[in-house]
């Protein structure tokens, strides 16, 4: 059941917001014990909101699951971390939550994630394991793994996630759902717990492209509380959805189809490309020559920003405080040592190092310059093509376990999703079939579509055409 079809049922009087919530609660009770997508949910509050839902609004009466790094007033916001797990309650609504409420939606459920959104498997959550509903021995992807797994498991109708280097698109791909990362500045970050502020964006995970468009329509737009959120007018994302791809020029970057891609992934992505060509798109080869530097650039810049952002977790104003500290320094150190998991510590140390005196120019400053080269690659490409097609990930979902030993190997699997964040452009993951992989008979594969900055209308139109095939 998609959000769009549920909305039709609500408007026709065939169901009610309370009935939808009751059914979701039943499905969560029945299935989420195994999937582990939900960290918590507050049915009583949601039911109270359902009782006064205005169905005439664009998302009237529709429950939306929320990644547990977005603040919803009165609810937990653990970020998958021990630091915030004890008794933190959000004192305010994130702007995206305020906008969802203004459109009639009901925030319902707190979804598991890699701690502070750092990871690609949700295994870095300090609180819970989330499993891929297509194969319970496998990761759901990450960091928005709870959001993706619940939408795939039909225990949520749609969800919000956040994407710093692929954290919406990669779990969407691994779980066989749609995941949209809007352009940088399209959606407010106010109330999203900051990881890397020049890369983070909030976006929807849904069961259809139309559903993603409906949610983007609501959450996009300027916010006086986020100066990086752009004033640009929000276009109508639904009107042109079915305009098709006839006459559009779509680029295949050769660097995204090289060695190291699973053959099944390649086959399904190329089948999706062929289907778009059959619908009248012109498919051309392009080059994004600095692609091979994206991972190194990202793993300097994102940890640098994270080391700064996570300095706020000091044990003073909220979250965990180490027991009986000797002095203020001891308080900081003990609170952070107890509160943070290994991946978060690793990235804080890496980020602190690349920003430290004597290393700043060699690492941070150089990575910012390479970021410029990566941006220019996309600018040159979008002068030639309307959208770019690629795999989301080199392989389908791997088995649970194995991240701890080799974080660099895990980082390298993000190769196709990092560059769009560095360039600030929009990107979407659309399911494009399944493939046998590593002993599993049928695991989902995602097609990634990249659009120019603020090109979401074009992106969604191409995504809709790709989806229509499947």
């Amino acid at each position: 059941m998609t959000l769009s079809s549920l909305r039709q049922q609500l408007l026709a009087g065939e169901t009610t917001p309370a009935a939808i919530l009751a059914r979701l609660a039943g499905d969560i009770a029945a299935r989420d014990g195994r999937t582990g997508a939900y960290l918590s949910y507050d049915l009583a509050t949601a039911m109270a909101e359902a009782a006064s839902a205005d169905l005439s609004l664009p998302l009237g009466g529709i429950p939306i699951a929320i990644k547990d790094n977005l603040n919803v007033a009165g609810q937990p916001c653990t970020c998958g971390s021990r630091f915030l797990a004890e008794n933190y309650r959000s004192p305010y609504d994130a702007t995206v939550i305020r906008k969802l409420r203004a459109a009639g939606a009901i925030p319902f459920g707190r979804m598991n994630l890699d701690e502070f959104a750092m990871g690609s498997s949700t295994e870095n959550s300090a609180l819970q394991t989330t499993r891929n509903p297509h194969d319970f021995d496998r990761i759901p992807g990450g960091s928005s793994g709870g959001s993706a797994a619940a939408v795939a498991d039909h225990t949520a109708i749609a969800a919000l996630g956040s994407d710093t280097g692929g954290s919406i698109r990669q779990p969407a791909s691994h779980c066989g759902v749609v995941g949209l990362k809007p352009s940088y500045g399209r959606v407010s970050r106010y109330g999203l717990v900051a990881f890397a502020s020049s890369l983070d964006q909030v976006g929807p995970l849904t069961r259809s492209v139309e559903d993603a468009a409906r949610i983007l329509q609501v959450i996009a737009g300027a916010d006086p509380l986020d100066s990086t959120c752009l004033e640009a007018a929000v276009p109508d994302y639904l009107g042109g959805l079915d305009d098709g791809v006839k006459g559009l020029k779509l680029g295949l970057p050769k660097e995204y189809f090289g060695a190291g891609i699973d053959p099944g992934v390649r086959r399904q992505v190329m089948a999706a490309v062929d289907a778009l060509a059959a619908q009248g798109a012109e498919v051309v080869d392009i080059s994004l020559p600095h692609t091979e530097y994206a991972v190194a650039t990202y793993y300097v810049l994102a940890p640098a920003e994270a080391s700064s952002n996570l300095s706020r977790f000091d044990g003073i104003r909220y979250g965990h405080r180490g027991a009986s500290p000797a002095d203020i320094l001891d308080l900081y150190q003990r609170s952070r040592e107890d509160g943070f998991g290994a991946e978060v510590k690793r990235r804080i140390i890496l980020g602190t190092y690349v920003l430290s005196s004597g290393y700043y120019d060699a690492y941070y400053s150089r990575a910012q310059k390479v970021r410029t080269l990566i941006r220019r690659d996309f600018e040159a490409a979008f002068a030639r093509v309307d959208a770019i097609l690629s795999p989301v990930a080199p392989a389908p979902a791997r088995k649970l376990g194995g991240i701890a030993i080799d974080p660099l190997h895990e980082y390298l699997s993000d190769i196709f999703t990092l560059a769009p964040n560095l360039a600030g452009i929009c990107a979407i993951s659309v399911p494009c079939g399944v493939t046998a992989f590593d002993g599993a008979a049928a695991l989902p594969v995602g097609l990634q579509i990249l659009g120019p900055h603020l090109g979401e209308a074009m992106l969604l139109r191409v995504a809709r055409a790709a989806e229509a095939r499947s």
Partner: protein, 97 residues
Amino acid sequence: MPQPHIDVRYVANLARLELSDVEVATFQVQLDAILGYVETLTQLDVSGIEASAHAVPVFGRMRSDEPHASLPPAAVLQNAPDQSQGQFRVPKVVADA
């Protein structure tokens, strides 16, 4: 054994992280591998390239200078690990005279 890139305990201290010996040993190997990989960036000639702090730089954004509601003190303090008289309570910061 090549010279390690990073003195993990020193940098952790800068970041106010108190690591166990096991963590230091694990992170040493992992961070050296990551920093070794990052060295690939030195293959590129970036002379004359401007740095991008943001993908979409926006400068001088101003909003109207009008008072608006902020969180009430009780809401700000609701998550405090320790508080007293409407303030966050911390260990003594100044040394004895």
